[in-house]
Amino acid sequence: MAERSFAKEVEKLRLGDGEEFAGEGILAITKALLQCGVGYVGGYQGAPISHLMDVLADAQDILGELGVHFEASASEATATAMLAASVHYPIRGAATFKSTVGTNVASDALANLASGGVTGGALIIVGEDYGEGSSIMQERSHAFAMKSQVWLLDPRPNLPSIVQAVEHGFELSEVSNTPVMLQVRIRCCHVHGKFIAKDNKRPSMTVADALENPRRDTGRIVLPPASFLHEKEKVAKRWPAAVDYIRRNRINEFFGPDAGSVGIVMQGGMYNAVIRALQRLGLADAYGETDVPLYVLNAVYPLIDDEFLTFCEGKDSVLVVEEGQPNYMEQAFAAMLHKAGRGTRLVGKEYLPVAGEYTGQVMLDGLGAFLRAEAPQLLSAEIRAPNKMGGGEEIPDLSKVVPGRPPGFCVGCPERPIFAATKLVEQELGKHHIASDIGCHLFSIMPPFELGATTMGYGLGPASASAFNSPEAKRRSISFVGDGGFWHNGLTSSIGNAVFNKNDGVIVVVDNFYSAATGGQDILSSRANNRTKSTQHPITKAIEGMGVKWLRHIDRTYDVGKMQATLKEALTTEEKGPKVIVASSECMLNRQRREKPLVNQAIKDGARVVKPKFGVDEDICTGDHACMRLSGCPSLSVKSLDDPLRDDPVASIDQNCVGCGNCGEVADAAVLCPSFYRADVVHNPSGWDRFLDRMRSAVIGFLQRRRERRRLVFANA
């Protein structure tokens, strides 16, 4: 089950006409889908759209009542291929995933879908993970819309606008027989706001109805000659239909005065940041009433030529606010003006950065520069020529002081010991080429482990090491892949490929029972019972099925010694072909979420419960921190002693320790030091426990008193 329970949110999906929905943007989209009579939804989890998947997974009952089919797809390609259900049948379908990583995976299906076109509305909701906090390569989804000629909506980032975009998306898709992409940026997905709900609609045709009455039309299948007709149809029929719909329904919005010497054209998603900048420049009020003509594109592809040209009439210069690069829109607009022989100056990336997120400051600087240069008369004196921030003291630069804080393994993470073991093996056998994959385990590239040279895509870790397979080399490559990536496409692209090409490398499958990095969703090999999904399919069986001969399964990753020995064997064995190690232990974040309440309840109910925690004897720890160079656990930190005899801070374990065992295992495996101890607290001890404890403390107490009577005992020693 997912990291979070969405029981509360699920109830919001039941809201009816006129009721107010309050919540996250991505959940508003989910509700909008049901209001639009969607017939089926699929997708692949990943920030920022995980919550859409999670809430639908928890909303099976509602979906059942409405006859909506929901699938947690195996990959983004699967989710997009699923939209084939809208090719011949008038069923509305939606797919969702993280972009651009997901769009990359989906593009094969997307291109085929776009070629044949659709009958029922097909909506693809892409969660744009761009800018601050992003975990992926910085690219634009816009390119995919252009190359496959599917329409791209980029609504203003507020709940009513994105809900409306969903409604328009389906209609636009239907009138133009073209799939539509709805792009929502990460902050918009997580924005908390309100909108007035409508009743949910049962799909006019359900997937069940379709199954009962199959249809086919050779003309929609991507194979010559049809495929050649598809291309012509795209430009001759679908495009004009889309342009007409967008114009007629005023999808794009105009704000501010009609006339003006300058204007600003922007992606809908940029609207709020533009308004804030204009507010700070004294050209807009709290509600967005502005003195500058604005042309807001809630549909960024296709562009509407005459809409744009009308906007430019009588304007000396127009600024295009287009986040990311290349600046496709700016180029298109420039071409329109040129072909129409207009004199309006078109600017964009001259004033705004070519690359990178358009944050508040960037927008303020960009718009400020544009207006100072092109329309200074609009600006008040002090803004036109701001006098430098003087008077106040110079604020010291802290960049040398403040340490970076990249994301890392959680407290008690079962992946930590895997990389501790790998580091120890490298200390013994020397450095190796290590290929990493997508997932929490990618944190291995950061201190303290600093293991891993590349990451080439989800499930492609071992694939990205496939070139390193040479009989001349004494050393083998090591590659990692998570259970999420393994099922996403690692099984074929990585394991199958390694078997087929007789790759001699070592592959470690990091199995933590969930697609953990995306929020702990269940996958094929999850151990939990899932009401609506089939789980508990062992990774090891799949690997054997692919024909791997050398396979080891470690069912407790915290056993650093065993992990180390197995890895060493894999790197040194005479056996040919891929050496695969499956290292399994449950994601601690999810495990704690599951067990903590149960354990606390059990203690309350008087059941015998043993709770482990680790500690450090501060007078035995010498403050070398070797343990932390093999851990990086948030709960294992440094602490100063108030003892002038001791210079360096010693290790200390805080109350967040979950007693995973890594500290002790590492201290042992790396022969570090005897400062660590494990303290097991037995709650509600049995009679036998108590008896034994009394006996033991009697003897121990006697021995201690005996010795302490014979020596000097110092206060607080």
Binding site: C440, A626, Y677
Partner: protein, 540 residues
């Protein structure tokens, strides 16, 4: 502050008095909960509010940011921004001190506008923890800067308050926000928000109260005590649990001798020794007393005498105007050198009654719960030989085959239950080997090493006093067990190997100090090797 916000006039142009709040936290600190609470309390007070965050992988223990905008509901939806802008944040809440620093660095804190509310506790970043020395960033620097950078700076250990009340820092931060009065909302509405949230309400409200009082300047110390001699921010840098137990850690030791208990004969002996310290110059006494105590506690009274005899050698060469730096360094490092970490010491420390008590306190054993303690040992032939009578020990060490044979038998991880008869008894007996320690191989080795180092230091005094002090200070490098200890030894030797190149230079002491600091930067001593290369080029 309250009135500033509420009486802010709403101009025709501008954001119309939108209040902007940014929260910087470390993933897992509950920044999401806090921002939901703030939205809720705003709406309770007839405000429109919007919150955003960048969820996802960044939340896994990394630095995360949440952003909230709010303004009075005038019946029309304003346009809220989705991310904070430099110089345009009214309230900056930092759930950890370095995150406050990050906020300042990113320009979210400005003297004209920003009230900075920060928990002064530290969560050390990985980069700070993995240095063999003390790699922690300076909290004092952040505090100084925050005073300059913010309109108002409210900082105290809110983590401590949260832990004390069995809650999490988001509750005490929420309290501090309420207490600061920066938002025009009454206290009850904040508490109503917490009560409505449902889970752990009682603890949350308690922590909230603590934070509230803290922000109003009572109930908590606003600045952390600075420990003399150490890094500026020792006390501030405690990890949560230690900050909870900070009281014990920072208990000051009375200068006029710690109170001791024991057989009359020993106490009398102890008083003789402390009498010798009374004879010493004032500046040396504190360190000498601590050292003496450590040494006697480690071995016995005679060991204490040896310590003082060695210290006297330094005192003879020392001088008033140098502030007795030599003797103080000697007092410190002689004690550490004499109390080398061997199996006997470890066993002794782990079997003391005081230790058991400390574990119970740190783990927090309550009621009738029972504590079971497991120790992790991994003896190797080296430790075995070290614990043998010198003759036998070296006999084995000189026979590779034999020692390899023994190593195969003993070299493995051993988990010992010190709450069980056998486990405790075993360690108790090893601890009892104390009385024979002087005859053991390890002691011979350590003594020899100590003599070489100490003689070298003292012999250098006539030519270069400062250098002599640094030679003694080099002892700081020796720490750790097994391989770590070996690595430490080699760093120690590599640093001192620079002496021939440095002798006679006016800045020799400086260079030796720099070498020592370089040695503490990384595990293998790469920085040190670099520094040594530089030293090598000094001559020509």
């Amino acid at each position: 502050m309250l009135d500033v916000v509420s009486t802010r006039d709403v101009p025709a142009r501008g954001d119309g008095g939108v209040i902007k709040i940014a929260i910087l936290a470390v993933g897992g600190q509950g920044g999401g909960v806090l921002s939901d609470w703030i939205v809720d309390v705003a709406e309770r007070n007839g405000y429109l509010a919007q919150s955003t965050s960048v969820a996802g992988v960044a939340q896994r223990t990394g630095a995360t940011i949440y952003y909230i905008e709010m303004c009075r509901d005038k019946g029309r939806q304003p346009v809220f921004a989705l991310s904070p802008s430099q110089g345009d944040v009214d309230v900056l809440i930092a759930a950890e001190l370095m995150e406050a620093g990050r906020a300042i660095m990113r320009g979210f804190v400005t003297p004209e506008k920003t009230t900075l509310i920060a928990s002064s506790h530290r969560i050390a970043a990985v980069s700070e923890k993995i240095e063999p020395g003390d790699g922690r960033a300076s909290s004092a620097k952040i505090r100084e800067t925050a005073e300059i950078a913010s309109k108002r700076f409210i900082a105290f250990d809110m983590e401590k308050i949260a832990v004390k009340n069995g809650s999490v820092v988001s509750s005490s931060l929420f309290g501090a926000l309420a207490g600061s009065g920066v938002l025009p909302f009454p206290r009850e509405t904040y508490e109503a928000t917490i009560s409505a949230s449902g889970r752990g309400v009682k603890a949350s409200l308690a922590a909230f109260g603590g934070g509230y009082d803290g922000a109003r300047g009572h109930g908590v110390e606003i600045t952390n005590p600075v420990v003399p001699g150490g890094p500026d921010d020792q006390a501030a840098a405690h990890s949560p649990v230690s900050s909870a137990t900070a009281a014990d850690a920072t208990e000051p030791v009375e200068k006029d001798g710690p109170d001791v208990e024991g057989p009359r004969r020993l106490v009398a002996g102890w008083q003789e020794l402390t009498a010798r310290i009374e004879e010493m110059p004032e500046p040396v006494r504190d360190m000498a007393l601590r050292g003496l105590r450590k040494v006697v506690d480690y071995q016995d009274m005679r060991y204490g005498e040896e310590y003082l005899d060695r210290l006297d050698r330094a005192l003879l060469l020392d001088s008033e105007e140098r502030g007795h730096a030599l003797s103080i360094a000697a007092a410190k490092h002689l004690a550490n050198a004499l109390c080398y970490d061997d199996m006997i010491r470890v066993a002794d420390l782990k079997t003391r009654s005081t230790r058991g008590a400390r574990v119970r306190r740190e783990v927090g054993v309550k009621g009738d719960a029972i504590l079971q303690t497991t120790e992790y040992f991994h003896p190797r032939v080296e430790e075995f030989c070290g614990a043998m009578p010198a003759a036998i020990g070296s006999y084995i060490e000189n026979r590779p085959k034999l020692s390899a044979f023994i190593d195969r038998r003993i070299n493995k991880g051993r988990r010992i239950r010190t709450d069980s008869f056998t486990g405790f008894a075993m360690l108790w007996m090893i601890g009892g080997m104390r009385r024979w320690r002087r005859g053991l191989l390890r002691h011979r080795v350590e003594q020899a090493h100590l003599d070489r180092w100490c003689d070298l230091g003292l012999a250098t005094v006539p030519q270069d006093y400062a250098l002599a002090v640094e030679i003694l200070n080099t002892r700081r490098l020796i720490k750790g067990y097994s391989d770590t200890h070996v690595r430490a030894q080699s760093k120690f030797d590599r640093v001192l190997s620079a002496l021939p190149m440095l002798k006679g230079r006016s800045d020799a002491a400086d260079w030796l100090r720099r070498l020592r600091e370089a040695a503490l930067k990384d595990e293998k001593g790469d920085m040190l090797d670099g520094a040594l290369k530089t030293v090598a080029t000094l001559g020509d």
